[in-house]
Symmetry: C2
């Protein structure tokens, strides 16, 4: 392709709202264009990268024996009601509803639809296992779209769904996808980490996320300085006791004290010179419509994902001021476990077990209690791991290393779903033993656009993008130093035709503009191999090859050029 | 691919609601599955065909110098308001509107979005010409989805948009696409006809449709037994005079007569023994908010597309009973041009020019008039071609041949848009003369799924589909007569591996079932080349090759098989 016939609108300046490197560079290199908040068009160069990523995914999925299908974007809302996810995902669902016609959901994911489809065709264990996948546009009504295509309302996903007759089969299907994902991300030139993760709205027990470490990532990876712990923040286990719980308890007399307008842990500990660890934080939640009190140590935060899992519910929210008043008798900021107005369940985090003489809210306006002791002043029958682990904590696994937290971006997620959807949608098969059973499912997602963004985050510098050969929009760029040099142009035209005839993916910058602009654009759009052609070298039968990744350049005899290029491409990722 | 590892749920029976052959066979051959009315999933076999069609389209579009992009599915509604098409296409637009957030339109087409995109990058005549295309899912809220994927709510379209600085450029871009479309449809194995067409909601003057003749088609092609007239019904010109207009007029006295409850042309002509041609049909329309009376000869129908074009409006509807009463003074069924209550414009079809002593409604309940004469009893200042041509009419072009109408399916449509969108959305460039001008556009659509359906309509028999090699889901099917014959199976396994290693697109029916079922399934799914392997032939080193298209079969020495297959595939479409 000739540059003059492409649409590559490179820009000198960053867009105003771009925080992430990838967003900035995708915009400047003419890969994407914003239509509205969280909604992007892919320009020719950007779409070439996307197609390369899609081809790698498709190739590996096919090799893994998965079958490609294409499911509808619009789904009858009723099927989303059957699994309860219409309600659960209400905030992010986009829906179409016209007068008295049936409502449609724009698919944010396809568990419902694929389960319904497969249930129509699978009847015997002989029809299993089955793994169906698609590469398709999904929709989520993101409240705060950010980072360009990374958190957007419309995005391309590869979603696969496995169907097995038993757990052994599911484990095998899961393992195959797990290994396939590793190959896909490697081929796309991504350094990734795999973490154990929360299944969230998908349901199921086991899941792993494939993450890329990037500075603005909205997910957090937990790892240990000593052992191989690698986990998402939502599921990273915490130690099941308080560090100081070996101290001999010396229970003091409980006292009420005045805390006018002092509502937060910081207010209280700052004003009275307590350590945050001396306080118990009491939060009132509504779980499945009923209030509960959750207690963690003052310096910790409650992890709602863990709490949901412990309670076995998906419907959890913070209580509003009215409910807090009704339940505790006091306004927000003075809740505590002692003397609650209503007899509601109390759930304490493992981290408060063994604490004594604690400070809590008094369930009275502008009052707190000190020397509160569990078992004496209030009863707690339910202890659980419901807090987030913190940077610097002692590792709960090896008890030696220190915990560190790092920001990261999720590019893939695999789930063992089990029977969640096959039960809700009645997807059954007849097993060898003649009995009807629910199909056992897994699901496997890849954020296609995110691979592109993650790749730029990992491979770029202040000048622009450094594409890996595998997904580069073009593998070779021919750059004439001066489009008025007849000899150079003639040579380049011939070289261009030869490369095309040999099916090389080549871009020829044939613009009659200053060399400096061409070089800047070349660095910006990041084609991995740049052949620079100018009369000065050409009179000695030489051309220059520059590699964008390491910035190196070398002079090559024109007679060796084709062989050199072939070798460079064959050896690349 | 092994059949046992595919999902090919073939069915013996037709689905209940399938009228079209393609719908019936796509369902039975396991290509598609209905999710809800007008919404379909593509199963693995169906999606393979779709991808083959997409690859052919992409290849030809790239060769034509068009650049592939991907535009968003969801569009801010405001941009659709700017061109007036939100109102114009209201009935078929699907929209997402959540509480107080901005409304989105699900793109049924992308003129608005591409024009807005290009206007941001094109500033000079040097940036033109440009042709951008995408292959993407579109949405239309079809009131009556029919014929499976042919008239559906969600479908895949290839839409391209050309941008030029002048009409010469537009004509060239249009010509390139016109020729490209011919190659695409030929490669897909389609017999098509090209007709001049109405631009409809797209705007612009010139357009051509690429049509395939099928029995249930919802479009109608007009052609002549003598000349090369080929037109869509909406734009086929009609003769501009009444056949009997050479008779010497003998104006009789106008008389009112009773027609109790006789409202239609059939009622009146049947009851009083008039010819329908003796009657003038008067229809009250609302055009741009104002009533008009339109008159055609009794045996003809008004063509609203022509009427819109003549009136230069997109907003046209039949008047309701209240307006008819107000305008004519009488209920529906008694309208006529004489003595209208309101002085509204009267538009007569060319075909009533020269008629005399006509029958019309009297604008009184249960009354008609006879011997009505234009110029004496009512004035008409506007004559135009506003009727549909009819089967058997004399050709308006050559005046010799007879007109015939044939049902057909639109698979492609090209439009010269001109400045419609660049004016509404302010897309400008600076021309050579330094002046700012609006970009001149064309747009070019292909119904991707429809190609698949049209192909089945043209290439199938009572047993099933006959795919052309170019878009067949697999090119070769290996069929073992008996999966228990060790020699056959061993030979087939080796053959299968050899074909795969040479990148042949091959399906191996490895199922251990009756040969009859295999042969029936083979005919149904329509793989073009079937290699039948059985011990009886194999002991003489022979295999049988069956070609689905002509139903022929021949025995081939195994030593020649690879060469024979290569030749068959290379020679095929």
């Amino acid at each position: 392709m000739r540059w003059s016939q492409m649409l590559i609108p490179t820009l000198r300046n960053d867009p105003k709202d771009a925080e992430a490197t990838s967003h900035r560079l995708m915009f400047r290199a003419g890969l994407i264009r914003k239509l509205s908040s969280g909604v992007y068009s892919y320009l020719p160069l950007g779409y070439r990268v996307l197609k390369n990523v899609i081809n790698i995914i498709r190739d590996e999925m096919n090799k893994a024996g998965a079958l490609e299908v294409l499911l509808p974007v619009i789904h009858p809302a009723e099927i989303w009601h059957k699994t309860g996810r219409y309600e659960m995902l209400k905030d992010i669902l986009m829906t179409v509803k016209k007068e008295d016609k049936n409502e449609f959901v724009l698919g944010p994911t396809h568990e419902e639809i694929i389960t319904e489809l497969v249930s129509g065709y699978v009847s015997s264990y002989k029809d299993l296992p089955l793994n169906l996948y698609q590469i398709q546009t999904k929709f989520r009504d993101e409240a705060r779209p950010r980072f360009g295509i990374i958190r957007s309302k419309e995005f391309i996903m590869k979603d696969a769904y496995s169907f097995d007759s038993d757990t052994v089969g599911l484990n095998k299907s899961y393992e195959i996808m797990y290994e396939t994902y590793k190959r896909i991300f490697e081929r796309c030139g991504l350094d990734y980490v795999i973490v154990t993760a929360d299944s969230g709205a998908m349901g199921g027990d086991v899941s792993h996320e494939f993450m890329v470490k990037v500075p603005f990532g909205e997910d957090i990876i937990v790892s240990c300085s000593e052992c191989d712990l690698s986990s998402s923040l939502e599921v990273a286990p915490c130690k099941d006791y308080y560090e100081g719980s070996n101290d001999k308890p010396n229970w003091k007399k409980m006292e009420e004290f005045d805390t006018p307008n002092l509502k937060t842990i910081e207010d209280i500990s700052g004003h009275f010179n307590f350590n945050p660890e001396d306080l118990l934080k009491t939060i009132i939640y509504i779980a499945d419509g009923k209030p509960i009190a959750c207690i963690v140590s003052g310096e910790c935060e409650i992890c709602e994902a863990k709490l949901k899992k412990y309670l076995k519910t998906e419907i959890l929210s913070l209580a509003d001021e009215n409910i807090i008043k009704k339940v505790t008798g006091a306004p927000l900021g003075f809740s505590g476990p002692v003397g609650l107005k209503q007899n509601i369940p109390i759930i304490c985090d493992f981290g408060v077990r063994g604490k004594f003489n604690c400070v809590t809210g008094a369930n009275k306006k502008d009052k707190h209690l000190k020397n509160v002791n569990i078992g004496r002043d209030f009863e707690c029958k339910k202890f659980a791991d419901i807090r987030y682990i913190k940077e610097g904590d002692v590792c709960p696994i090896c008890s030696k290393g220190k915990i560190s937290l790092e920001r990261s971006l999720e590019i893939g997620h695999v789930f063992k779903l089990g029977k969640k959807y096959s039960k809700d949608l009645n997807a059954k098969f007849t097993d060898k033993d003649g009995k009807e059973k629910n199909i056992i499912m897994g699901c496997y997602g890849i954020g296609v656009n995110r691979i592109m963004a993650a790749c730029i985050e990992l491979h770029s510098d202040e000048k622009g993008i450094k594409w890996p050969v595998s997904i580069a929009p073009f593998k070779i760029l021919l750059l004439t130093v001066n489009q008025k040099q007849e000899k150079s142009v003639q040579y380049t035209e011939e070289l261009y035709k030869e490369l095309l005839s040999k099916s090389y993916d080549v871009l020829y910058d044939d613009r009659d503009i200053r060399a400096g602009v061409k070089f800047n654009d070349a660095d910006l759009i990041g084609i991995p191999i740049v052949v620079v052609i100018g009369d000065r070298n050409l009179k000695d039968n030489l051309v220059e090859i520059k590699t964008r990744n390491d910035g190196k350049s070398k002079l090559i005899p024109t007679s060796n050029l084709m062989q050199e290029l072939k070798q460079m491409i064959d050896c690349a990722v």
